[in-house]
């Protein structure tokens, strides 16, 4: 049943499934995972499932800001500063907001107000993918939940469904809120939903996500299916938290607190 649905959800993932360019990688972990050809992997679930550990002992405010800036600049995320209409892929949120089920009344402010890096959890059971009426949001072969912004009709069902508030809708024309445009990544039009894509366009050519590069060791990224990967070891050796595990979404972002 689960495999069937996965198979089903993989329609339209062909572009990201192409994994033929291992040589270009500067990172051995990614290079090791990126093997095989497009033909072999198309339509099949890859052995690799990307996951992320965010080490909050190492992640400070400055690092977080660097990650946010690098990501938003690269992905042409518009800089709209009203809370109502803003678009964000990665941002800082307090412990109280991020882990609302773990907070108790007497918790000290210094813990409640700790700033945590927030991104899409790339759930193994994503609600957004389940509710999307056009398969504009989908899970690719490596478990990354992606967005086809050309197909998105802007119904915002995924935003109502996402238990993590990871999604943004272009309430305004995003092109008016870009200081400079990165020509290697598409810009969007108003009326579509967007979110973090785990830098799947970079993973496809053997590069690490931008936030991982910027964080300098505070974020560990890799294959959570491989017990010997750095990310699996970090999960095994540390006390980690995940957001709202009681909802059955199975997030793939872990936090070392």
């Amino acid at each position: 049943m689960e495999m069937n649905r996965r198979k089903f959800l993989k329609l339209g993932t062909a572009a990201v499934a192409g994994l033929g360019v291992a040589a270009a990688s500067s990172n051995p972990a990614v290079a090791a995972a990126v093997n095989g050809s497009y033909k072999e992997s198309a339509g099949k679930r890859s052995d690799v499932t990307w996951g992320m550990v965010i080490d909050m002992k190492k992640m400070d405010e400055a690092t977080l800001n660097r990650c946010v800036e690098a990501c938003h600049k690269y992905h042409n995320v518009p800089n709209i500063d009203t809370q109502k209409d803003e678009v964000k892929w990665i941002w800082g949120e307090t412990f109280e907001h991020l882990f609302l089920d773990e907070v108790h009344d007497k918790m000290g402010d210094k813990y409640k107000d700790m700033s945590f890096m927030t991104i899409c959890n790339h759930c193994a059971e994503p609600v957004c993918v389940r509710v999307c009426p056009v398969k504009a949001t989908f899970m690719n072969a490596q478990g990354v939940v992606g967005m086809d912004m050309h197909r998105c009709i802007g119904c915002r069902n995924c935003m109502a469904a996402c238990p993590y508030g990871a999604r943004s809708f272009n309430y305004k024309n995003p092109r008016l809120y870009l200081d400079e445009i990165n020509p290697t990544y598409p810009t969007r039009m108003k009326g579509v939903v967007e979110k973090c894509n785990f830098c799947s366009e970079r993973l496809a050519v053997g590069e690490l996500p931008l936030c991982v590069e910027e964080a300098g060791g505070a974020i560990i990224f890799g294959d959570i299916n491989d017990p010997n990967s750095a990310v699996s070891k970090a999960i095994a050796d540390n006390f980690t938290l995940q957001r709202r595990t009681n909802l059955g979404t199975k997030p793939k972002v872990y936090y070392i607190v």
Partner: protein
């Protein structure tokens, strides 16, 4: 047959009403263009509350459309003959209601030019996809059935077997449109106001109160304007339906309060607290919910005792209160209330904007316009063919009346005065 609504027995007041609605629709359309040019930031919706007034109205009007089945089902399945005169009212009510519901989806879509992707990339695991399937089917069925039933009446014959088969076929669709709309919400894991198995049942019960209440009101209005008589037994039966369905709905609302507040789980209580009492300092919907509570009491007091329910003055008030209270509960506050608690445990406020209201008014105007034309058609056909619905008119005198009308219009003065010439007032 449709020409009867346009040329026969029309009055200046009728055309003025149609022109007024068309003008309102044009205003709404202009507001929609404004929204599409400027983006959805001109509405009250936000990153946190991604569905607002439009989807709320969609939900409510799907309910109105489904409510008509409370006439169609007893008439076609249980042979309740009293409803024979007004089944077509139920079927025709569903047409503008679904058109409105569909338009509320269209104006809510951020990229409407890509709307047909819903059919191109048909995705059965999405509930929205099912909404896009059953709503058009129910619309088409109601157009076919309603038109053919009235056409048969117009020709003085009984409708065909296929029409009856389609009418019966439309009954499960009436239920399904509202069930699917409820499942749109009831399957979202982190929205506790939505996440209840009670939701489809509550929606259906609410619809079965709102639909018949509106049909009673329409019958009263048609009676005032044209003398159309739905029949006392039909109205009384419908009123009983409203009484039961409304009481069931309020029971389910109470059940939600019980589960939320007895269990004391904060996220279950959040939406109800926000709507009825204010939460985290946000209380913008509290006055509206107080109006809702008053209307609930008024409805129950009028609709439950038989003496008040069969008093047609009070029944009109009761039905209006039932309709308005469900409009507040389902149309205005359900969606926004459910989304008000963000995934971060905070409360996001919702401020309705002028363009949003104008677009809603425009869709209402179009719905009223379609309804006016369809009900005009019903009245004209019934006036011509089914004198039973117009007891104040005398069949024998009818030809003389037309002669008199013709003479009057052409300035012909006759010696013999037609008996019904000055009676039978034109509809206002």
């Amino acid at each position: 047959m449709i020409e009867k609504a346009l040329v026969k027995r029309t009055s200046k007041a009728y055309w003025a009403w149609i022109a007024f609605l068309a003008a309102l629709f044009a205003v709404g359309f202009a507001a929609y263009i404004y929204q599409m040019v400027n983006g959805f930031h001109v509405t009250g919706m936000s990153r946190d509350i991604s569905w607002g007034m439009y989807i709320g109205h969609l939900t409510f009007f799907v309910g109105v459309a489904a409510g008509g089945v409370m006439i169609v089902l007893p008439y076609y399945l249980h042979n309740v003959k009293e409803f024979g005169r007004i089944t077509v009212v139920g079927e025709f009510l569903a047409i503008p209601a679904i058109i409105m519901a569909l338009l509320f989806v269209v104006v809510d879509i951020g990229s409407p030019m890509k709307l047909l992707n819903v059919y191109l990339y048909y995705t059965p695991h999405s509930m929205l996809c099912w909404d896009a399937t059953v709503l058009p089917i129910y619309l088409i069925l109601n157009i076919i059935v309603g038109y053919n039933v009235l056409q048969a009446e117009n020709k003085g014959v009984k409708y065909g077997k296929i029409v009856k088969a389609l009418a019966v076929f439309s009954i499960p669709f009436a239920f399904s449109i509202h069930i699917v709309t409820a499942w749109l919400y009831a399957g979202l894991p982190s929205r506790h106001y939505f996440l209840t198995a009670m939701l489809p049942a509550k929606f259906l019960a609410g619809a079965f109160a709102t639909g018949p209440a509106l049909i009673i009101l329409i019958c009263f209005i048609l009676n005032k304007l044209t003398g159309f008589d739905a029949g006392k037994t039909a109205i009384d039966r419908l009123a009983t339906t409203v009484a039961y369905a409304y009481t069931a709905t309020i029971f389910m609302v109470i059940c939600e309060f019980f589960t939320a507040f007895y269990s004391n789980v904060p996220s279950h209580k959040a939406a109800l607290q926000y709507l009825f009492a204010g939460y985290h300092g946000h209380d913008q919907f509290v006055p509206l919910m107080m109006v809702f509570l008053v209307l609930v009491v008024v409805t129950l007091v009028i609709m439950i005792p038989r003496q008040t329910r069969t008093n047609y003055k009070l029944l009109g008030f009761g039905c209006a209160a039932a309709f308005l209270s469900m409009y507040i509960e389902k149309g205005l506050t359900f969606v926004i209330g459910g989304l008000s608690e963000t995934p971060f445990g905070t409360i996001a406020p919702y401020h309705v904007t002028v363009p949003e209201v104008l677009i809603i008014v425009g869709i209402f105007a179009l719905g009223f316009l379609i309804a006016s034309i369809l009900f005009k058609l019903v009245v004209v056909v019934k006036k011509d063919m089914d004198l039973g619905a117009f007891p104040q008119e005398d069949r024998a005198a009818l030809p003389m009346k037309y002669v008199a009308e013709y003479n009057k219009a052409n300035g012909i003065v006759e010696e013999v005065k037609a008996p019904a010439a000055e009676a039978a007032p034109e509809e206002a």
